[in-house]
Symmetry: C2
Subunit: 293 residues, 2 copies
């Protein structure tokens, strides 16, 4: 399949390389050229402009930073008009379901096909080809893209026929992930203020009904002063803001997601936005009895 891959950053590059390895003809474009050499070495064809990348494509895969950036690429810069009739756009940026639905409608109105296909699993999953891909879109479109999607992610889920259903699934996932990190910090903070042995506390919690994947993964880094950054505080500011935006649009109150967002926001405001997301615990230390650690 002739595929245009737009956005060759930390996630996009390994995803594009897996498409090349699966036998697809992949043309790539990114304003930032730092990954050009690696992309070309893997067999990709770099295009110096977006129009050149998409004008022959059967499938245009957007792995840009946000739904706004995807919309801008498609309609403000108007590269939707550069695509062949009936080309399929696959949107893998993390965005709200309503934004995905709006962009999807606009693409359909121009005679293009579209899948809403956010991913989960991070750079590690992208490199290993083990991403989860949560897809919203018509069954025939899903079937058309299936082999390409499967070469990028080993966990492929078709959530429903509406563009936006994939993004809803990702939103639900991120709501849980964000709250689980924040509450792990909240619980650890209570234990630390009470003078308990925190490593022992985490050992006990990890084998109890209180366990979560995030507690097991982020818990140990909460006990470090300067842990390595696996995913930053500001990523959850972004992802929980999408949850909040979508809830506001639906006029839904989501008390736990809202409270968790405040803690990530506060940690970011304290200057820890680029720190590992486990460091949301610093927001609790600031909140209660000063920054005592």
């Amino acid at each position: 399949m002739r595929i245009a891959f737009i956005g060759l950053g930390a996630m996009g590059l390994p995803m594009a390389i897996r498409l090349i390895q699966a036998g697809h003809a992949v043309t790539g474009f990114d304003l930032n050229t730092r990954n050009r050499a690696a992309f070309e070495a893997a067999g990709g064809q770099w295009s110096p402009d977006a129009k050149g990348a998409v004008q022959e494509a059967e499938l245009v895969w957007l792995m840009v930073v946000s739904g706004d950036q995807a919309h801008d690429f498609l309609f403000t810069q108007n590269h939707a008009a550069d695509m062949p009739a009936n080309a399929m756009v696959v949107m893998s940026c993390t965005q709200s379901a309503s934004k995905a639905a709006n962009t999807g409608e606009a693409l359909t109105a121009r005679g293009l096909r579209v899948l809403d296909a956010p991913v989960s699993g991070g750079v590690v999953g992208a490199e290993a080809g083990t991403l989860a891909i949560m897809v919203g879109g018509a069954q025939t479109d899903f079937d058309f893209a299936r082999s390409a999607l499967e070469s990028v992610g080993s966990n492929l889920f078709h959530m429903g026929v509406m563009c936006g259903m994939g993004s809803t699934m990702k939103t639900v996932n991120q709501l849980l992930c964000g709250v689980h990190i924040a509450v792990a910090a909240e619980a650890t903070h209570v234990a630390e203020n009470a003078g308990l042995d925190l490593a022992q506390v985490h050992r006990i919690l990890s084998v109890s009904a209180a366990s979560s994947w995030m507690l097991g993964n982020r818990g140990p880094r909460m006990l470090q002063d300067e842990p390595p950054v696996t995913s930053a505080v500001d990523i959850f500011v972004k992802d929980l803001s999408i949850v909040a935006e979508e809830a506001r649009r639906a006029k839904s109150g989501l008390p736990l997601a809202a409270a968790a967002l405040q803690m990530f926001l506060a940690a970011s405001g304290q200057g820890h936005g680029l720190a590992d997301d486990s460091q949301v615990i610093r927001a609790y230390r600031g909140l209660n009895r000063g920054d005592q650690k």
Copy 2:
């Protein structure tokens, strides 16, 4: 060891029976006589009054409903005065750390020894002898009681030398459990309002970074209209109220625990206090777009 066991309800009876089976001489007392026959059949000696149960005991195990009830038994009814000098009181009721500490100090002042030893694992764990027991108290006291504790719970944790540290550990555990159930309901509610296939959503979440023990355990029951009651909504009203009470005493803000408590309270106020705790999802259905299910 001569053990008095006070409170032979759903949890206390199987705990006392395990002590008898381990070779201890167990005298039992409960105002409610419904489990008397079962206790005696297992080899326990029923005492018609509390004084008779405790006056020869080396160890008095309190498995009553609350810290207030324990305090009332010990000091209002004044059964602390009925115990031999240097007897050890083991408090296994769920209570706040400060209540455990206060009661512990009062016992110590009267020449008695004390362990704060709340349990986790429910009736199933009590019957199997696999309870987790989280203990606060002096090392020598812990060592004295160890074999008795081990015959009741296979997961024994000495959290620290202060009476109250066991209860803090239980509080931290219940904080996480309560928030994890509430956020599982919040996320399921978002997915149900978006029209996703909820069984598929739970399958995806269960293998992702969004997974938690509670989501796996309570998630399926959230999708049932009248699930069997494993643990009731009102249990988490109680346990998260202990978290809130302890946080208020410490002048600590705990935003997620506070928000989760509101949802369990609201579910209880809707008339669902005795329903399975998975039904906290009904509070979300009441909150957003009416009770649409």
